[in-house]
Subunit: 311 residues, 2 copies
DNA sequence: TATCCTTACGGAATTCGTAAGCATG
DNA sequence: CATGCTTACGAATTCCGTAAGGATA
């Protein structure tokens, strides 16, 4: 049993059982991968993969259990490397953050900027995608940190912290009748075509809930993943926008914003890391910078728990 | 990085940093071990061990953290082997049970016997020792299962289950005056020289507590780890014995027993396994046989949690 | 001085990539 | 027939044990 064999198995499962692809990812030859897997199967005495003739088609039933263990083992192997780099005083490394557009565009810039000043040798990668994929990236180890408002709490493999609260804001073109309605009511809002986030994004859930609770059927004419896109279409007078308050930068030419915290439930942006993973020292610094309410020691303690307490 | 390097480091820490000894345990040469460790330290860029000149004397500060990760990694490696053996349908293997004399002598025989009938190919090892060592053995992976009445609950690394309750029994030679005292009171007992377990063994704690709570100072003339030894000395009329009820087999010649459940707090024998460890299928069977109140699925679920929930 | 770790060296085993062969969809 | 896995083979590397050297308590 060796690490190359284990990596081959893990990668095969991740890359859809295509060993040619696995070989490329692992910078080795395809026959090499083929043998790594065969050798491991032989040593363990178990077929890890289902085969149709010569092609791998999926995991066998035991293979699923074995893969779980292999993943844990390789996580520890990566932890070992990272911990060592920390102990060796290395200030270089990588930090991959999976997050949504709103965070990446409006919230992270300041944090990233100050982080870069503290750790100029760390390469930062912002992986932007949908909340459910953010969780996936962190769980698989492709991202070190996930930041999103939705979709991070449902996973036992993740450890997530609340970071800050925010509320929604209504945006409308200058001179729009809604701007005179004070205080703004949901009924007023429901009169107009609306533009907001795709479902599952950036607090969209709370928007739907608020309208449903009021027995209103809003006319949502356009949805997007992206606050900028929404505001762009508001500017084109296609409707009234509902966006996260962070997305209002005061510079949006003819657009005007109305606080809507009283209409929709407040949102909490969360930061998630993989349970059992070692975070490089600078990653902890990043987290503390992003969520100053978190204690460094509290994060470390929580990370020790490899698994969620049973319900 | 390879497994032999990791094993060398773990074993060096376990064997008091004597590489010659490590080499013997790992069935390899001493220079080999020396190089494994040096290579790993070089690759990780961290000195894992403290050195005085050429000799290893202890773990470095980073080494402590690194060792923790290595231990977790190697546990997963062992899990992988065991899980594979299960999946491969292997009915052979080993089962090491660390336990106290009382369990090994009076409780386990039936269980072991029936287990042997079900799994004739499994080699069973009973490791008999003091409760604190039992925990140690299970934590280090040298034993699969620990069974004891005391000293298993204090370790976050262990997952322990209550198995059965029992109480103490007073034993005295035939014709002893105490046998007429009905019901038996603590005050009566305190009149006589007593023989019971060493402190930390087999519910001794509850005995001390009971006397202390009653403001009595018992005259404990002899202590032993072992119910047989205690009864032997009672037979020699050196005093009155207090032993676990399981140790009364009805065949002890001239000795008579008196229930003492009303005098001392009841005891619960617990069974412990290492968190995060894979238990061979037959080990689960053994546990269920030993503690029929436990559900197989409940054990598996609990084992998934690698770490104790934070306090 | 006895124990213990490191260095040096050479043979053996393993590893790995290329090329060819064969099954699958 | 194009893609994908296996087998075969040879070169290069790595691994590991023996023997000798040097430090420590």
């Amino acid at each position: 049993m060796n690490f190359q064999q284990l990596r081959s198995v893990r990668e095969a499962a991740r890359r859809g059982f295509n060993l040619t692809e696995v070989a490329q990812v692992l910078f080795t030859s395809q026959p090499g991968v083929s043998r790594q897997i065969r050798d491991l199967e032989e040593e363990l005495g178990v077929d890890i993969f289902e085969r149709h003739g010569k092609r791998l088609t999926g995991l066998s039933e035991p293979g699923k259990g074995i893969l779980q263990i292999i993943e844990k083992l390789l996580v520890q192997a990566e932890n070992l490397q990272r911990a060592s780099q920390d102990f060796a005083g290395k200030t270089s490394g990588a930090l991959t953050i999976a997050t949504t557009h709103t965070q990446a565009r409006y919230v992270l810039p300041q944090v990233v900027q100050s982080f870069r000043r503290s750790f100029p040798d760390v390469r930062i990668a912002l992986q932007q995608s949908a909340p459910e994929h953010i969780a996936e990236w962190v769980i698989s180890g492709k991202a070190d940190i996930g930041i999103a408002t939705e979709g991070l709490r449902e996973f036992g493999e993740l450890l997530s912290f609340p970071c800050y609260r925010w509320s929604h804001v209504v945006v409308a073109p200058q001179g729009h009748p809604l701007l005179k309605q004070t205080p703004l009511r949901l009924e007023d809002l429901a009169q107009w075509p609306l533009i907001t986030y795709d479902s599952g994004f950036t607090g969209r859930g709370h928007i739907d809930e608020a309208f449903a609770a009021a027995g209103l059927k809003p006319d949502i004419v356009l949805t997007a993943m992206d606050s900028d896109v929404i505001q762009q279409y508001v500017q084109l007078e296609m409707g009234v926008g509902i966006v996260a308050s962070m997305a209002i930068t005061q510079k949006e030419g003819s657009l005007r914003a109305i606080e809507a915290g009283h209409l929709f439930a407040p949102n909490v942006t969360r930061l998630a890391v993989r349970r059992g993973a070692w975070l490089r020292s600078y990653a902890l610094d990043f987290i503390c910078e992003f969520a100053p309410t978190l204690e460094r020691s509290a994060i470390i303690t929580a990370l020790q728990q490899d698994q969620a307490p049973a319900a």
